[in-house]
């Protein structure tokens, strides 16, 4: 555990009323991780199949990590108490902990929990596993999405956004999720240029499933388009201010989840590499004594600490603010590639073994790459952050 983790858990929540029992919840998560999740993924070269994934998710719902429906929210599940500083810290710490065992499991839980937050926010009661699509056809629509959030979008930006969120024609949007999702909330600009959301049951969509994706092997990629004349099962009727605030919050929490999951993955990679370096002998001694290996492992520690501190700082900020989102985007633009490089360094410690699937490092690296390129790559994040900062006092 880093110093930042300790601070994260010991510091009192600010302005949140009674503090949440973070440590107790995290103890449960830790137990789940070591007793249920870890045995299921112990063979790195074997993909965690959909049935096992569902069973594990059900277990995590039973102890309250993933809220099964809006009226059962305890405030202690993932992305439930998002208005509270300690609620956000709880969610990121839990995701990090799960990702220390398996990033794919952590990520799908994050996605469903985020959708749960969305449905609670728009007052939609559902027990189905829905997703919320936060990314359009490509990137972050350059500056257009950011300008929509800061109420500075011009006509060109709106044209861009309409195309960005267009799911009426191929290729539609790309989702990377667990196989058993029931429906997806797709965003769309209404006639007044307000971003609304429509719930599209899976059977009303054309869904192309891609089982061979770069990383997060537990999940699949889906290319999704609307089916002919089919209609959404439900539509939001948000005013523009609420629409902006909701999308800002969703993007912010999503970025926090990405960093927390990436950080957990790096924790895992570093632990594996450090353990290996302490026992592997070469050139007459254990390789942990070699400067080349020390430099590789040290980089992982640096990035762990940087990401942990940055995440903590972001958690302390209001999630519905464009400033927070800009801060998170800049942070992701810097740290997401570093999480990849540091994981790659951990792989390098293993030499040839690191390239083999049974050591697990190559999977973590592919998972890190996946988190780097979804929901905005570093350059797209920089453009979006710049647009958010331009228009934020």
């Amino acid at each position: 555990m880093t110093n930042a983790d300790a601070l994260m858990q010991e510091s009192p929540s600010t302005g949140d009323g009674d503090a949440l029992p973070i440590e107790a919840v995290l103890d449960e998560v830790r137990r789940f991780g070591s007793h249920a999740l870890e045995p299921a993924v112990a063979r790195h070269e074997h993909r965690l199949g959909p049935e096992r994934l569902t069973a594990l998710r059900t277990t995590s719902s039973e102890f309250g990590l993933l809220c099964p429906s809006a009226d059962e929210a305890s405030g202690l599940g993932l992305w439930e108490a998002v208005e509270r500083n300690d609620g956000r810290r709880l969610s990121t710490a839990a995701l990090r902990m799960l990702a220390q065992v398996n990033m794919g499991f952590a990520w799908q839980l994050h996605q469903f929990a985020l959708s749960g937050h969305f449905e609670r926010h728009v007052g939609f009661a559902s027990t189905a596993l829905n997703l919320v699509a936060l990314q359009g056809r490509y990137g972050l629509a350059r500056h257009a999405l950011a300008r929509y959030l800061t109420a500075t979008a011009g006509p060109d930006d709106l044209i861009m956004l309409r195309d960005y969120f267009d799911t009426t024609t191929a290729p539609g949007v790309l989702l990377h999720a667990a196989e058993d999702w029931a429906g997806v909330w797709l965003p769309e600009l209404d006639s007044a240029s307000v971003l609304q959301w429509g719930l599209w049951p899976r059977e009303r969509l054309v869904v192309e499933t891609h089982r061979h994706s770069h990383g997060l092997d537990e999940l699949c990629s889906f290319v999704v388009c609307r089916r002919g004349e089919a209609q959404a099962a439900h539509r939001t009727q948000l005013d523009i201010a609420t629409s902006r605030r909701l999308l800002t919050t969703l993007l912010t929490l999503n970025a926090m989840g990405q960093l927390a999951t990436g950080l957990g993955g790096l924790d895992h990679a570093h632990r594996l590499a450090a353990d290996y370096a302490a026992t592997r002998r070469q050139g007459g001694g254990v390789i942990a004594r070699h400067a080349a290996v020390q430099l590789l492992l040290s980089r992982a520690r640096q990035i762990q600490q940087l990401t942990s501190h940055s995440l903590e700082a972001c958690c302390a900020c209001a999630p519905d603010s464009a400033q927070t989102l800009a801060m998170l985007y800049q942070t992701r633009a810097t740290l997401q590639p570093e999480l990849c490089r540091a994981t790659s360094d951990a792989l390098q410690v293993f030499g040839g073994m690191g390239y083999m699937r049974d050591t697990g490092l190559e999977k973590i690296l592919r998972d890190q790459n996946t988190l780097r390129v979804i929901h905005g790559t570093p350059i797209e994040l920089q453009l979006a952050a710049t647009a958010l900062e331009e228009d934020t006092p």
Partner: protein, 462 residues
């Protein structure tokens, strides 16, 4: 395409059409004949520009290699990458056909000129390593795994060639070359790495402390090999393997190169590794259980193995750099293709400035690495430092450019069919094999050791 200027001429956003009077390219045409030769503009891509700089025989080699890669490797690349890992010793019919086709095209046996090998005589005015670099880049640009399946053959044959032993060349190299040209799916493999050895086999300092894993025990008329080799590219499907083993009771300085044939009693491929990438080529664990190898299957003499190994690595690390350049080029090509066919907000991505900046950077990184390889490989006696610099510099570049391609494709990079993620997985191996990039950096210092020590002991430098 549309642009900033209201012009009917085709141009990208932010740029003038090349025929616009204010474009430098149009302006060049107004210059006289002599200055025009100094500033000429031709609407060809970077690959063509660089190919034209080569001597004619090497231009032909490069063009043929690209054509072969596109025709023979491209149709198999994605499918082979997804295929389940093969059982040891098993080659799919598709891969057998590919090896046959490659052999018939003369691309497995062209490290010697005809009639000994299949190389065009005119090419041999230029170093063999440069020829290998040009070819391997084109193959890896299309598929790393298939490239490795075909190119590990050169590595396996290299110790025999480098031994200068005409008898060994005549007995082991030439018959296989002839069989390859007839279309028989026969390959060489190079076996140095042992369980728990890793870079010890590639670094003198590590080797000093290493206890050899494959040992040769004297027997009447030959030697008996026992032990295991791991991570041997194509080791399970090769017909002829150059296997390095220490003599019983001696250390790594006794390493000797033995020719082991597939089918020799006691030799058995045990398993193939499950790898991140390069999946068309196997990384095999090989068992040697008291394998009898006759005396005349020793290459270069007893205790010459370490020298042959290091010499082979000196020659092979530049082609590893070259294959990494192929990955960088492959990633760049994928990114260009995606940027020209993907539209957002009514425009192709290539119209956006940030996309143009990324693509230019990818081109620059790739060309820089290629320039290093071409310059370094244009020598008949490459030294260790140069080879190692090529290896780690180009392989680090390849992974960086593959990262950039994935970034440019964004979440679409995750889809296998788009190819970018495969390039990353394939390229990542190049930072590890043929000595990790850390070992290769240290090899540079080792090569300059005497000069550095002399400098350190010179009072004038204190």
């Amino acid at each position: 395409m549309t642009g900033l200027r209201d012009s009917a001429l085709p141009h990208l956003d932010g740029h003038l059409a090349s025929s616009d009077p204010l474009s430098p390219f149009a302006a060049f045409h107004t210059l006289g004949a002599v200055p025009r030769r100094l500033v000429s503009y031709d609407a060809v891509d970077q690959w063509e520009v660089e190919t034209r700089r080569l001597p004619p025989s090497l231009q032909k080699l490069r063009r043929n290699a690209r054509q072969f890669a596109e025709q023979a490797l491209r149709p198999l690349a994605l499918e082979t990458d997804l295929a389940p890992h093969a059982e040891p010793g098993h080659l799919s019919p598709q891969l057998q056909q590919l090896i046959s086709r490659t052999g018939r095209a003369g691309l497995l046996s062209d490290m010697l000129p005809a009639p000994l090998g299949s190389g065009a005589t005119s090419r041999f005015r230029h170093p063999i390593v440069l020829q290998q670099c040009l070819r391997v880049e084109e193959l890896s640009r299309v598929c790393g795994g298939l490239m490795l399946l075909l190119s590990a053959n050169v590595l396996g044959a290299m110790p025999i060639l480098l031994s200068g032993d005409t008898s060994a060349i005549r007995r082991f190299l030439l018959p296989v070359f002839r069989a390859q040209q007839r279309g028989e799916a026969k390959l060489f493999a190079f076996a140095i790495t042992e369980p728990g050895a890793g870079s010890d086999a590639e670094d003198g300092h590590g080797a000093r402390h290493y206890r050899p894993g494959v040992v040769a025990r004297r027997d009447t008329g030959g030697w008996r090999l026992s032990g295991r080799k791991v991570f041997i590219s194509g080791g399970d499907v090769a017909d002829t393997l150059t296997v390095f083993a220490a003599l019983e009771g001696e250390g790594m300085e006794s390493w000797t190169c033995f020719v082991v044939r597939r089918g020799m009693p006691g030799f058995r491929p045990v398993r193939n590794e499950l790898k991140m990438g390069m999946r068309a080529s196997t990384a095999s664990e090989l068992e040697f259980d008291n394998v009898f190898v006759p005396d005349d299957h020793i290459v270069g003499g007893l205790r010459q193995g370490w020298a042959l190994n290091r010499a082979t690595l000196n020659l092979s690390r530049m082609p590893v750099g070259a294959l990494a350049v192929g990955f960088a080029q492959g990633a760049t090509d994928i990114a260009f293709d995606f940027a020209t066919r993907t539209r957002l907000g009514g425009k192709a991505l290539i119209q956006f400035q940030e996309v143009q900046l990324q693509l230019a950077q990818m081109l620059a990184e790739t060309s820089t690495a290629r320039a290093l390889i071409w310059q370094s490989a244009n020598a008949w006696t490459p030294r260790q430092a140069t080879s190692s610099i090529c290896k780690f510099q180009a392989t680090d570049t390849a992974v960086r450019v593959a990262d950039m391609a994935m970034d440019l494709l964004g979440n679409h990079a995750l889809l296998h069919a788009n190819g970018a993620e495969k390039v990353f997985r394939d390229a990542r191996l190049t930072q590890i094999f043929e000595g990790t990039n850390q070992i290769n950096r240290l090899a540079v210092i080792e090569d300059f050791q005497d000069a550095l020590l002399a400098r350190a002991s010179d009072p004038a430098t204190v």
